[in-house]
């Protein structure tokens, strides 16, 4: 397997598990009418793309592709700053 394809597989696994957890929580929350479950489901959903970005950054660093890792770090920074804005409001 080429390294490019291996990173793709890892990203795929991260996205799929995030969605699975979130979908299970949302479904259970809707069926039982429990708000905390829905809340957790929505949070899991928002964490999924962030986890994907983290994995890509790590993968690029491990591959010593520093230029693209830097590009990816920028996106981490943007996500972090929007989290800061969210926490302050």
């Amino acid at each position: 397997v080429k390294p490019e394809a291996r990173l793709d597989r890892t990203i795929e696994a991260v996205l799929a598990s995030g969605l699975l957890v979130s979908a299970a929580l949302l479904l259970l929350g809707l069926l039982t009418g429990r708000e905390p479950l829905l809340r957790l489901g929505v949070l899991a959903l928002m964490v999924t793309p962030a986890a994907r970005v983290a994995v890509v950054t790590l993968g690029l660093l491990l591959r010593r592709d520093f230029l693209f890792a830097l590009v990816s770090l920028w996106i981490v920074a943007v996500l972090a700053s929007s989290l800061l804005v969210a926490l302050r409001s």
């Binding site: 394809a5 799929a16 949302l26 928002m46 590009v71 990816s72």
Partner: protein
């Protein structure tokens, strides 16, 4: 019960179309929720952002497996999108809602015409010896492997900046701007443009979604229903897109652009 099934259906419909065309689907879901179901606009935007995350992550899993996502290109464009997202928030206060709708409608109408006019042109080169360059790549279609090169990258970056700004302004992922520009001006095959756009959109949406969530705009049961509808539909849509001819996808995209343009234009009047 009826409204829950309606919400599931709305999520499913937008997830299906969105994943086929590389849109998050927000551009369709927000009007559907506000106009047809009477949901307040802020609640609709928040729910739409969540469903965009669900839809784009789901289709990304399918597209990654198919080798359609150009991760490097996505990363480079995401830099512009994120800056655009910040700029969009600032610009929103400078423009009236009417001017926003007019500008958006006009852009969409132009892109729809360009897209339809160029639907016959192909971006791929059936010669494997051609160097795809640092950001280009290859695309497998049936038995044949094609090469594509990225042209006019500044155009693509500009479109991503605009997409980010629109995302910040209107709560949509911005795929409706990126996909047509990447395809018609940057030489990226429609499938790769759609898959790469979808891949990026989840991050763009997540960045604004947390802010809406913190403000308490996320209506939990409504959002859950929309997302649960969008998930399976997006998986299906991403698979279906593979069986449809590139030309048909472009014509479909042109039709969606015109519909959105018309609706935006009417609101500007």
């Amino acid at each position: 019960v009826t409204s829950t099934s309606l919400l599931l259906l709305s999520g499913a419909a937008t997830g299906l179309v969105g994943s086929m065309l590389g849109l998050g689907g927000g551009v369709l879901l927000v009007p559907l929720l506000t106009l047809a179901l009477g949901v307040p606009i802020r609640t609709a935007i928040a729910a739409s952002l969540m469903s965009v995350i669900a839809s784009s992550s789901a289709s990304a899993t399918v597209n990654l497996r198919r080798g359609l996502v150009n991760v490097r290109l996505g990363l480079v464009l995401e830099v512009a999108t994120s800056v655009g997202g910040l700029a969009g928030g600032v610009a929103a206060s400078l423009l009236s809602e009417r001017q926003l709708h007019a500008a958006f409608g006009l852009t969409m109408a132009t892109m729809g015409v360009v897209m339809a006019a160029r639907s016959k042109r192909r971006n791929v080169i059936p010669d494997l010896r051609v160097d795809p360059g640092r950001l280009g790549g290859t695309l497998q279609e049936g038995e044949t492997t094609f090469v594509y090169r990225v042209r006019h990258l500044p155009f693509g970056l500009g479109a991503s900046l605009a997409a980010g700004a629109i995302s910040g302004l209107l709560g949509v992922g911005g795929g409706i701007v990126k996909v047509p520009v990447l395809n018609t001006f940057c030489g990226i095959p429609i499938r790769v443009a759609a898959a790469t756009s979808t891949f990026m959109i989840g991050v763009t949406a997540a960045a604004s979604a947390v802010i809406y969530y913190a403000r308490g705009d996320v209506a939990l049961p409504l959002t859950a229903a929309v997302c649960l509808g969008a998930l399976p539909a997006s998986l299906l849509g991403a698979r279906l897109a593979d069986r449809i001819q590139a030309r048909a996808l472009k014509v479909f995209m042109a039709a969606v652009l015109s519909a959105v343009a018309l609706q935006m234009g009417l609101r500007a009047l």
